[in-house]
Symmetry: C2
Subunit: 486 residues, 2 copies
């Protein structure tokens, strides 16, 4: 592909993206296809000769766009929307175009230093504690590819600290015990498993029945029992906004227990931490001043396209102790002097893209005000939806809704009826929601966080939920109406 | 940022990238700056209000471009060039624009199925064994973010298989032993450390003095000794193209040992495996038909911009056993039926970008012929450089150069003289090379693999190396000439 062909195709692709994002609401949210359908639309063998941009572009229109699940759709109420914004798309484009590797300062100074600056900017915008600032004595931040990776490096740093570094040599994790609740993200269990802390040594601490938040007294009791058994408690994950119901664990009380026994306290704010961009929601930071590490995802609410997880630690010595490996071909004078940060030692992979560009572009071109507006809009819409639900006897809300997630079910019905509500609303292709189970109770999650979602979309979803509910659970005086399902 | 502002800025950025890549040879390869210089050029605090594209673009020109290390520069002979191509930049742009999450089939069918197809296309283009094909009984492939992550998941699959899955529950890794040579990439040790196999249980197997390739007899002896000691050998990493000197371990002979004791055999072809796109270099695949897993990096020689590591396994059951975690909100009918692949269970993170697009675009817009031409060109230039070096008594070549890497030093001199040669050639900013140490001997690595490198660039580097060598090591009949260094 020549530079001139690239320019022409590039302009065309920029237009395609703008057209796609502006028109995505005209599409089904999730395609009506079966496994294998996409592959069947494409040649089984690679092309023998180069093709033109117009041929490739035609396949984007014919094959790709109709077989996506459209995460940028205004009726995407599933998971937590992984938003993209025009500004961050440009940042990702520049990162790809420059093609630099930021594994160490010397391999690309701009990549490293702009990343450090962005972490400090975000620390200020989120009003995070100074102990995480890059210029503090032992703290600092880095962009990870996902919250799963952030969790894993937190576990590894904790493991290193709890063993005095011995784990790097002896690999002995057989006494280490970790603590979280059943509401924590699956990546906690996955990260622990990777680090050699299997399910036998992951304590699922009790949570409160109504808020799904960890009970600190249960944590203290579990830690005491493990100490008495000769084990080594080392890691606690407190979640600020669980995936299932957006529960907030009481980090300040949890920190009491952690400090008493020198446990690493990681706070997972992947889903909800970005709310702190807005002063009235700064309570999501409660307790962070006593955490050893923290992560949150601009690639969710803030709209900096995936992958962009911010990870901070107050103890970079433990992180570097866990992750530094230094062969000859990676040494540099800048790093050895201590003046420069080599981010390869802050993460699992060696290579790294210039991800700071998309955050930088977003903060400059859209401004933090744009994210604040969306956060306020989404919390407002969620509150409004929750009021509608509360006023309809057919439904009940099964968890608090402190920000932009409502979990609801059909009141007084078996789980299967709510499951059928979920399947029915999804099957039509106009909306997409996800299911969760809270202490054995099926719930429909409505996550209001897509960049393009407005009041009309939430109102239409609610009307559709009501329509299906009337079919599934007719009023006693309803007669002759079709009753779906069980 | 409005759609119209995005279009205008997008066109401008496409032009900026083309101008940058076409003119990068006019820049210093590595900037002459110190840690902190980049940050000092930028405001310490985030902007209070949105800025215009022209302001941001001006800072790209003023701050970013002058403070990068230019990996796309034709005089970049360091590490292994992490190439980008116009076609793959467009693929990355589309991925950012669509903003979908491919963690499971249902969350974006196109993202999953095109990735599976690309792995099968690449399997055919590289002529890899059928046991890795997605349609084989137990095999399959996936795009990982880096070879480090590919290595880690191979280790985790091996750990799961060696313990019959028990490690997921008991986390006991204290008997597991792994094997590789001192020439293996640092990510092997890092991955093992993460997985709870510390340096005490990583055996550094002897290598041959002249080729730096593993001695299979030493591997067999080490495994026997560990078995006799009651330990559990479980993982061997054989490298096809080491980072330091591009050594090739004898995988077929290593496989004999692995099969005898049911050890997981991972082959790390990160750097050199892409050479198999060219039929005359298919020998780089020797032994892969007996490997449990394999990785290679299109983001190096092939020019599919980072991150794009291809990872195949012949035993996806072990991979899924190691990495599957299934909470309610991630379940889907498509996955439970077994008809669909959920790639979240093939990797460490949960989220994943639509990385297959850049590989698809590259193979269609540039065609495999383009990569084949570059591979042949670079191996030819390397052979030519090696002949020049061999014909100059001041220099010696310290390792075989089977493909596109030459390791050289100043003959008969102390290491410090070669180190000074490296520092001097790098200091001027016209070229960038890296240093390595091979069995205690300092060497200058010349890695010929940048997309834009032509004969003239290699010739100028060689002239510069000769010029500096004359200063560092004058001929006996030289008089009065400046002598640099020690």
């Amino acid at each position: 592909m020549t530079p001139e062909e690239f320019r022409a195709a590039g302009y065309d692709l920029i237009d395609l993206i703008a057209d796609y994002l502006e028109g995505v609401d005209q599409r089904r949210v999730v395609p009506d296809i079966s496994p294998g359908d996409v592959r069947a639309m494409l040649p089984e063998r690679p092309p023998a000769a180069p093709e033109s941009w117009s041929q490739v572009r035609a396949d984007v229109d014919r094959v790709v766009l109709p077989t996506l699940s459209h995460w940028q759709h205004p009726n995407w109420f599933a998971y937590f929307p992984a938003n993209t914004t025009y500004s961050s798309i440009l940042g990702e484009l520049l990162s790809a175009g420059l093609g630099v590797q930021g594994m160490s300062w010397v391999t690309s100074p701009a990549c490293t230093e702009i990343e450090t600056l962005m972490l400090d900017w975000m620390l200020e915008l989120l009003d995070l504690p100074d102990r995480f600032r890059s210029t503090s004595e032992h703290g600092g931040g880095v962009i990870q590819g996902s919250a799963s990776e952030a969790t894993l490096v937190a576990i590894l740093a904790a493991r290193w600290r709890a063993t005095g570094g011995a784990v790097n040599a002896d690999g002995d994790t057989t006494k280490l015990v970790a603590y979280t609740t059943s509401q924590a993200h699956s990546s906690i269990e996955k990260g622990l498993r990777i680090a050699g802390v299997g399910t036998y040594r992951l304590r699922i601490v009790d949570h409160l029945d109504d808020t799904f938040a960890m009970r600190p007294a249960s944590l203290a009791a579990a830690v005491a029992a493990d100490l008495a058994a000769g084990l080594t408690p080392f890691f606690v994950c407190s979640t600020h906004g669980t995936t299932s119901s957006m529960a907030f664990d009481p980090t300040t009380d949890i920190a009491e227990v952690c400090e008493r026994h020198d446990l690493w306290l990681h706070v997972d704010g992947a889903m909800s931490g970005i709310a702190a961009l807005t002063p009235e929601f700064r309570w999501v930071n409660d307790g962070l001043d006593r955490a050893d590490s923290y992560c949150t995802n601009p690639h969710k609410w803030m709209g900096v396209n995936f992958d962009c997880t911010l990870f901070w630690t107050a103890d970079r010595r433990a992180l570097l102790g866990a992750l530094s490996i230094l062969p000859e071909y990676l040494r540099s004078a800048a790093a050895e002097s201590g003046a420069a940060i080599d981010y390869r030692d802050w993460q699992v992979p060696l290579g790294r893209r210039f991800r700071a560009l998309k955050l930088w572009f977003n903060l400059r071109l859209d401004g933090v005000g744009s994210a604040q507006e969306r956060i306020r809009r989404d919390v407002g819409l969620t509150d409004e939806l929750a009021r509608w639900v509360a006023n309809d006897d057919r439904f009940e809300i099964v968890a608090p809704h402190p920000l932009n997630l409502v979990c609801l079910r059909l009141a007084g019905q078996l789980n299967e009826v709510t499951d059928e509500l979920i399947d029915t609303v999804n099957a039509a292709g106009e909306f997409h929601v996800t299911r969760t189970v809270l202490d054995g109770v099926s719930a429909l999650r409505v996550s209001v966080g897509s960049r393009t979602t407005e009041r009309e979309h939430v109102a239409r979803l609610w009307a559709e939920l009501q329509r299906i509910a009337r079919l599934l659970v007719p009023d006693e005086d309803d007669t002759g109406e079709l009753r779906l399902g069980i």
